[in-house]
């Protein structure tokens, strides 16, 4: 990090952080819940919390197939010392620690890896404490309810108050997911409800991870983009469909290009199977 001298820092730190009044008072109360930590103990059975396991190794530091080289103009050292030639005020910013909002957001990192981050605002924290008592956050634990809306199932994982983001493996690619943040009592004899809802995330449709031969129906549609005329073509009537396998006979290359891909083996098996079935299928002759 390019650090300024201490003096500069003192002077400038005020700029942003103090600006958000709510932020300053939030710090004292919420220290537990926000700091992202590596100590995530993924005790939950299937919870497959990537974060806990992948900290050291698997963060797939991308080999950057192509974009790789663009800017690693190697070995240059950054010279970020500012002279402040035209700027009279030297600026220094730190990213806001948090935004004091109750929020759950999810992003798709890969077809089967969700990234989730969350926070609970001070006002909401206070409301929970007012309702359930001073000890609320100590006697409950956060949970994430993951719902696959496409296949209509959900599962829950335990998290902890030391984390504010999580990588979560999901089994089914190409599906719509949403994640709900809630809390459950740690002790069964607690007088708190069994489940307290906190917030729901955005919806996220995960990318597809394989060739969808199996979804290919009996016909496909072609559109003339000049006239917008759409015509339906029966797959069986298309002579070229016999060549589909040839068109897609690129898996060897594909494997080389994406040899880091986690489920390439699985994809490959599936692909071979599908290739086989499509070339044997009578509809394609």
């Amino acid at each position: 990090m390019p650090r300024k001298s201490k003096d500069e820092l003192k002077e400038l730190n005020n700029e942003i952080l103090v600006k958000d009044k709510s932020k300053s008072n939030s710090k004292s109360k919420s220290k537990k819940a926000t700091s992202k930590t590596n100590k995530v103990s993924s005790k939950s059975e299937k919870a497959i919390t990537k974060k806990g396991t992948s900290n050291s190794t698997s963060i797939q530091v991308p080999k950057s197939k192509k974009t790789s080289s663009r800017k690693n103009v190697a070995k240059k050292k950054t010279a970020t010392a500012k002279k402040g030639i035209t700027l009279s005020n030297v600026e220094y910013y730190d990213l806001p620690y948090r935004y004091n909002e109750t929020v759950v957001k999810i992003l798709a990192q890969t077809p089967t890896m969700l990234f989730i981050y969350w926070d609970i605002s001070d006002a909401d924290r206070k409301a929970y404490i007012d309702k359930y008592g001073e000890d609320f956050f100590n006697s409950t634990k956060p949970v994430l309810k993951v719902t696959n809306r496409t296949m209509n199932y959900s599962f829950e994982i335990d998290i902890n108050d030391f984390a504010n983001s999580w990588y979560l493996h999901v089994n089914d690619a190409d599906c719509d997911y949403a994640v709900e943040l809630g809390r459950r009592p740690i002790y069964s004899n607690s007088n708190i409800d069994n489940y307290i809802y906190v917030s729901t995330s955005n919806d996220m449709e995960m990318p597809n991870s394989h060739i969808l031969f199996d979804k290919l129906g009996r016909s496909v549609f072609f559109k003339n983009v000049k006239t917008n005329y759409i015509e339906e073509k029966e797959i069986s009537s298309l002579s070229f469909i016999r060549n589909l396998g040839k068109v897609y006979d690129i898996y060897e290359l594909y494997k080389e290009l994406y040899d880091g891909e986690i489920n390439i083996e699985e994809l490959d098996k599936e692909n071979m199977r599908l290739n086989l079935s499509s070339s044997n299928s009578s509809t394609f002759k």
């Binding site: 942003i16 030639i85 597809n208 394989h210 983009v225």
Partner: protein
């Protein structure tokens, strides 16, 4: 050859993040632009010009991204590029003396002197310091199709949690294009080829016909495209997608046997910035004394784990010609095979980073030149084409939704979302939401009002924070400090302005100062976030 059996379409993506520091000359990152001008943009233009003079009909497509256009159009950066060239010329003159006892190196010193001198001539006298005009010329004569890109190369699959921010990336991308080229772009290079179906409606709204996707953007599309990447598909919203050909990109990109690794080619990592005596080279490296690349490189790749031999321009050219022949033959064979399979003549789409050509692969522009000449003159079953021309010629295409994908490692979002950079996203999302909020709180501010200026600057800061480049650099592990600083600066300036606007206490001096630095998109209208 009477009728072509297929087409090859080259798409070069020219992009650099917006780096502009009037407050200091010490930012080495600014040199990315100068290096790219000298090693990629001018060489490409000169080769296009040679082809034009030799009356070789060719086609190429280039995305010139909005940040790049803004930088090429920036007077200060133009001035500093000239200074960069003059310093290099001075260094080359010293090199001529220093290397006078070694004929082979001395010849190279002379070559670099000629080259930088010519760059200065071309830049100042031919293009009047404005390379955009140079590219525009080739678009106007019909050999080059220029397409646009997201405003600041923001990565859609992560930004779209606030959809208006994706819309704004597209809107400003199109507006910037219109400003410089006087018409609407037909195509867009999605930043990092990051495709999400949710962006389609905005692409349509701004008149975009087509996008470029990574191979599996097509191969994994739904329903499966029956011609693979060898024909475009059209999404239900009406956006046409062309997918990268796997075969041809492997030939160029493969780190093991890709073309740029030829032993006769120039070795990127042996530079006099590192090799020369420290006191001698000190005036030409970083002002803090750190050794950096100067662009003057005397060695060829030579081989693996061996002493490096001197670079030989003629040998390098021979290799480029040989490889152009190989690429040509491979495409011929590929098209011969494919033309029996597809309904329309197949299209082989070859997208690359423009900066690969010349900057990383020094001989790349020459390779292109030779290849284009071969395609024109030799017995050939294919022609060069731009995606637009292909669409106009073969408008019938399968309806299918491309797969969410990118061209980063492993094909999805890992490069821009991983444990090194995931802390950034919540800031981007909040700033995005706040920008939308501001537009709704203060719609249609008067043209002259200070608040309008502040709102427009907020939009600039947000866009600059969204550049996928910062995330990429953090993942990549080089120049990380700079990338992190840029994220902090833009989020910091945005946040400060946000509170100034909502507290109705806009600091006009502060606004003026950050506007001097972050001066991208002078005509921006924050109402794109409305």
């Amino acid at each position: 050859m009477t009728k072509e059996k297929g087409y090859v379409s080259f798409v070069l993506h020219a992009h650099l993040p917006f780096i502009h520091h009037p407050e200091s000359e010490d930012y080495l990152e600014e040199q990315w632009l100068y290096e790219a001008i000298s090693e990629t943009y001018i060489p490409l233009l000169l080769n296009f010009q040679k082809l034009e003079e030799e009356k070789v009909d060719f086609r190429i497509t280039m995305s010139l991204t909005p940040p790049l256009l803004n930088m090429l159009d920036n007077k200060l950066l133009q001035k500093r590029y000239i200074k960069y060239l003059k310093t290099h010329i001075e260094l080359c003159e010293k090199e001529l003396v220093r290397t006078k006892n070694d004929e082979r190196v001395n010849k190279l010193s002379q070559y670099y002197l000629d080259r930088y001198t010519n760059d200065l001539h071309v830049f100042k006298d031919v293009y009047n310091c404005n390379l955009i005009e140079g590219f525009k010329h080739f678009q106007d004569v019909g050999v080059l199709e220029i397409i646009t890109c997201g405003a600041t190369h923001g990565y859609f699959p992560i930004l779209y949690i606030t959809e208006q921010t994706v819309k704004a990336q597209i809107a400003v991308g199109v507006q910037t294009y219109e400003k410089y080229f006087g018409k609407r772009p037909r195509g867009i290079w999605l930043p990092e080829c990051g495709y999400i179906p949710e962006a389609d409606k905005y692409l349509k709204e701004f008149g975009i016909d087509y996008i470029i996707t990574e191979s599996h953007g097509i191969l994994y599309a739904d329903p499966t495209p029956v011609y693979g990447t060898f024909a475009p598909i059209v999404s239900p919203e009406g956006v046409i997608a062309f997918g990268r050909d796997i075969d041809s990109s492997r030939q160029v990109w493969s780190s093991i046997n890709g073309y740029p690794g030829d032993f006769n080619y120039r070795e990127f990592y042996r530079d006099i910035g590192y090799d020369a005596d420290y006191d001698y080279i000190k005036p030409y490296i970083a002002s803090n004394g750190a050794r950096v690349h100067t662009g003057i490189k005397y060695y060829r790749i030579t081989g693996k784990n061996c002493d490096k031999d001197y670079y030989d321009i003629q040998w390098a050219k021979d290799s480029a010609e040989k490889q152009a022949g190989h690429f040509f033959d491979s495409r011929k064979a590929q098209i011969e095979k494919l033309s029996n399979i597809t309904a329309n003549p197949p299209i082989i789409l070859c997208p690359y980073d423009a900066e690969l050509y010349g900057h990383w692969w020094y001989e790349g522009p020459y390779w292109l030149y030779i290849l284009f000449k071969k395609i024109y003159y030799d017995d050939c079953n294919f022609k060069l084409i731009t995606p637009s021309e292909y669409i106009d010629k073969y408008p019938l295409m399968q309806v299918s939704t491309p797969c969410r994908s990118s061209w980063g490692a492993n094909g999805y979002s890992e490069v821009w979302l991983n444990q090194t950079n995931d802390y950034v996203h919540k800031h981007l999302h909040v700033a995005g939401n706040r920008m939308v909020e501001l537009a709704h709180l203060y719609p249609n501010e008067k043209k002259t009002s200070l608040r309008r200026k502040a709102l427009n600057q907020c939009a600039r800061e947000l866009l600059l924070a969204q550049s996928s480049d910062w995330l990429f650099i953090i993942t990549n592990g080089t120049m990380v400090d700079y990338a992190k600083k840029r994220i902090k600066d833009h989020i910091g300036r945005f946040t400060k302005l946000y509170y100034q606007i909502t507290d109705d206490k806009i600091d006009a001096d502060f606004l003026k100062q950050i506007n001097k630095i972050d001066c991208i998109f002078p005509e921006i209208d924050y109402m794109i976030y409305y």
